[in-house]
Symmetry: C2
Subunit: 206 residues, 2 copies
DNA sequence: TTTTGACCAACATGTATAAAAAGTCAAAAA
DNA sequence: TTTTTGACTTTTTATACATGTTGGTCAAAA
């Protein structure tokens, strides 16, 4: 399968560019030059830029999900699992921040619907991992029983929300400093600790 | 003080336009026509559009804060207080959604720094109210002791984040449906219940 | 003291044009 | 036959300029 190796080679080159300069500011010509082939050759392996982008992102999603499930297996307590998840995401954003943000401001030659679908797919996978982690913790009596699906969704929304709020606060001055991801990480850890503590005991309803 | 009544009259007319069409899409001429005066007359009472906008928003902030402190006084339990806060905000956004969003996309003839400062001021006030509510609940032994300032901040971020995530999800298709605020309200209530439950018991650290 | 019509300048918007990048293809190289 | 390419076309983005709208001013009227 020589063709798969070549495709992987292209994907890696594209990923490097996307992570450093974002998707929009990366041209097919630049990717081709990086691996010393012609642009036309890229189009022999990928029908268009959109599908190359999609393959790059799929690659990252698989990588992330493997890391998530590794964490679930080796963590004894729910907080260890959740903090592990947060750490993976922090590292991911520090590496691929520009790739991520440009997904929101996609050029018109990119298939926006397909990208959104991919984003939703990634979130579904992540949500399933959180769901699994909570289910496991309920099984070991670390947490009380509750509606796992709904609670995972709320928890996921909270994490995403903290991230959005933190980035929105500094995004006015264009350049997102790398330190922002550590701040987000810390806030998410504190919120997770309180949230999880709320799942250790039966809810009080006055 | 006849001049103050006239100013108030203008502010109310401006608020109606801002809430229906947003700040940017409202011209000084339209506000003037609504109350049957000339545009030039508006500039007799307000130096520029920016300061009119500021006065309108200050008016809303005072209104909201009065409602917040009323809720604190009459609620027996922390969850009643917090749900009361959420209800006030829900009603506010349902009424003044466009006013709120256009603050983020301010025209260049508006003083953006001043608007941002106002936004921060409103958040500070809101945060203080949350802080007070938590402090009161700790006093009645409804909640355990914790770092109130830090916790209020995290809680506030969570609420804002849930709102941002929910709106971002539908904002692609331009028209924000009114039902979104009920959805946000429900999610914020669930998150608040779990969060507060986590503040009823001492934190466990494995 | 308050109000206004006429006026100006700044800004947003639309359009036409040029530059850049995506995407195609017949032919060459392997 | 499979892979690669340079030259070409089409689409998208960036630039410049013209035009209309809107914020803001002022001398004069009420």
């Amino acid at each position: 399968m020589d063709i798969e190796i070549k495709r992987q080679h292209i994907i890696e080159a594209a990923l490097r560019r996307f992570s450093h300069f974002g998707i929009n500011k990366t041209t097919m010509n630049e990717i081709a030059e990086d691996i010393s082939v012609s642009k036309a050759n890229l189009y022999y392996y990928f029908p268009d830029k959109s599908s190359l982008v999609v393959e790059v992102i799929k690659h990252l999603i698989e990588e992330g999900m493997a890391a998530y499930h590794h964490i679930i297996e080796e963590s004894a307590h729910i907080m260890d699992t959740l903090v592990g998840f947060l750490k993976i995401k922090k590292d991911f954003f520090e590496k691929h921040y520009l790739l991520h943000v440009t997904m929101g401001y996609a050029d018109s030659n990119l298939n926006i619907d397909e990208l959104n679908a991919l984003g939703r797919h990634a979130e579904t996978k992540e949500l399933a991992a959180i769901d699994l982690a909570f289910t496991k913790a309920i099984g070991t009596r670390e947490l009380v029983t509750f509606d796992v699906e709904k609670t995972s969704q709320i928890y996921f929304t909270i994490l995403k929300g903290i991230s959005m709020v933190s980035i929105a606060k500094v995004t006015n001055k264009d350049i997102p400093e790398i330190s922002i991801f550590s701040e987000i990480f810390e806030k998410q850890k504190i919120a997770s600790a309180i949230f999880v503590n709320g799942l250790r005991y039966k809810m009080i309803t006055n």
